[in-house]
Amino acid sequence: MSAEGLLPRARGSAEVPAATGETVVETVGLTRRFTVREGVRRRQVSAVEDLTVRIGAGEAVGYIGANGAGKSTTIKMLAGILVPTAGTVRTCGLRPVKDRRRLARQIGVVFGQRSQLWWDLPVWESLRILAAIHALPAARRRARTDELVERLEMAEFWSVPVRQLSLGQRMRAEIAAALLHSPRLVILDEPTIGLDVLSKQRLREFLVEERAAYGTTLLLTTHDMGDVARLCERVLVIDHGRLAFDGALAGLAGAAGADRVLVVDLAEPAADLEVAGVVAARHLGSEGRGLRQRLAFDAEATTAARVLAAVSALVEVVDFRVEEPDIEDVVRRLYAATRHPPDAPAARRS
């Protein structure tokens, strides 16, 4: 293990189960600007600005932000694809651009929009080639492949050419491809985008297991609050290239009001529902003389079922749905909150 491992961890994160105190990602003042041409004029646009972050071994970190906030640029700098304009970055103790080839043996990256696999080959053959690319000894390749096939349930499409896979199957194969060489750090860029609920759930379970079994460090960008809630104990929010929040998910909910919302349709018009005495939920608003009401609740403190039960005890519910907080919304409110604290609290959904 490298000398980097002796560095003290910046955060006191007792909730990180597998952390060994080693640093896997460390950036100091990381900055990346692009030159944009507008006709003949050139303009500097900052994609990532002064990002200082340390991620310890075994952490699971959600990296969230609106489109174009700088997430992909950060990942490309961590992987050695882009050279930073300023600042320093160390990934697995290595300089990503200079030591790219050594780093490639220690990280696995899943880009949601681009494929590691060979379009016209069966899944097994793609993985066989990747094993050769990473120079895995035969015994290790077999053991790891068997493990991934079982845990990602790939047996059913093992011999199917990649181009014929469903999106959910393809994503599982992509993850297998990125994790085949047992990387210490796995970076996932929008891993669940476009997947159905069941596929999402399976994928998250797999990642949780992988982490529990090997202490793998996870860094994932996502638009799905569900991913963050189920996979990550730490959240980084990036906004316009700057780090806007670094802390636990609960803290983010507190800072930005990342509550889930239960929407109930009632059989008869009713006054604003007041259930705060029973469960941790607040009334947000009513429509149609109270036929449709919205209640916000903190998913950490209670469940949708409990809120629904509390409401059902008062009135007759004919229909309901649960709204996940939208990441862009969370980020926007967080941004508003950090700019206008504390007498102008973040606007709640109404």
């Binding site: 694809i81 043996r105 681009r114 990473h134 845990r151 949780v208 529990a212």
Partner: protein, 301 residues
């Protein structure tokens, strides 16, 4: 309260995991590799590319036929010219076959292995280049070995036939030196065309619609190479004689084999210098590639 989302490690998972660990050890070992091991990744990719092309039999045969036809048409162009004239640039038809054969065989073999390098924008759009960055091999080596176009074999066969016929029909003094010259010129010719594809790839990092421009050199160069350099005007002689050393892939070595003097600016003894041309072409190509990659990574330059 915050609950760590990591659920309790499932027993089954731990069992599988510990089996995997036992088999391998969790630490990523830095492989100590001999050259055979080092080539394994490339062989694995190339073998799969070849298999996948061969597995669609009908498709592959059609590809071969179309490739063959286009090569035959190009050869026919040369023949048509000699229908009207007995000499072109001081060469007879059989001598022209030698020039055409050398250059076209070299081009086809280079195209077989390197041809996809000048389709870099396709790779960029598909995100393939970023994927190469995540693998522990050099980028250019990965790009080169990411594809092989077996259908170009048909094209190469036309070049080979032209070359053999040319060699048989011409009076060549078969000293050992001539054999050395032939082999080294052919290999150098392949290297020069290969360098052209790589240079084109490097330039396509910068140039929007770069293929339009690089095609002028790659395919214009190929066409120029199959013509006698003596018919080129002087500016063209500078460009395709030295900067993009096309004359070294066919015309100049053919002059030496035939014992003919060269035109102004291209003396016959240059025919021995095809390896020098190959070294020059590759230094330019690697320079272009490096500039292109630096541009892509945004490291300036």
């Amino acid at each position: 309260m915050v609950e760590p989302p990591a659920v309790e490690p499932l027993a089954a998972v731990s069992a599988v995991a510990s089996a995997a660990v036992a088999a391998s050890g969790p630490v990523v070992a830095e492989p100590v590799a001999g050259w055979r091991d080092r080539l394994r990744p490339y062989r694995a990719v190339l073998a799969s590319r070849a298999r996948s092309q061969l597995s669609y039999r009908t498709n592959f045969v059609l590809d071969l036929v179309s490739s063959l036809l286009s090569a035959v048409v190009e050869l026919a162009e040369v023949w048509v010219v000699f229908h009207a004239a007995t000499r072109l640039g001081g060469l007879e038809f059989r001598q022209m076959l030698l020039v055409f054969g050398l250059a076209d065989l070299a081009f086809s073999l280079a195209d077989l292995v390197f041809g996809h390098c000048d389709r870099l924008p396709t790779y960029l759009r598909a995100g393939m280049l970023d994927v190469f960055y995540l693998r522990p091999q050099p980028l250019l080596a990965q790009l080169i070995t990411s594809e092989v176009s077996l259908r170009r074999l048909a094209r190469a066969s036309v070049g080979l036939v032209a070359l053999v016929v040319g060699l048989v029909l011409c009076d060549i003094d078969w000293r050992p030196a001539a054999v050395v010259l032939l082999v080294s010129s052919l290999l150098s010719g392949v290297a020069v065309f290969a360098a052209l594809f790589v240079a084109a790839g490097g330039l396509q990092f910068f140039l929007v619609d770069g293929r339009e421009m690089t095609n002028a050199f790659v395919y214009g160069g190929r066409y120029a190479a199959t013509q006698p350099a003596s018919v080129w005007g002087r500016p063209l002689r500078l460009v395709f004689g030295f900067f993009v050393p096309m004359a070294f892939t066919g015309y100049l070595p053919a002059l030496v084999l035939l014992g003919l003097p060269g035109p102004v600016w291209l003396p016959g003894w240059l025919g021995w210098c095809a390896p020098v041309a190959a070294v020059w072409a590759w230094s330019v190509a690697l320079g272009c590639w490096r500039l292109g990659v630096r541009h892509y990574q945004g490291g300036g330059g």
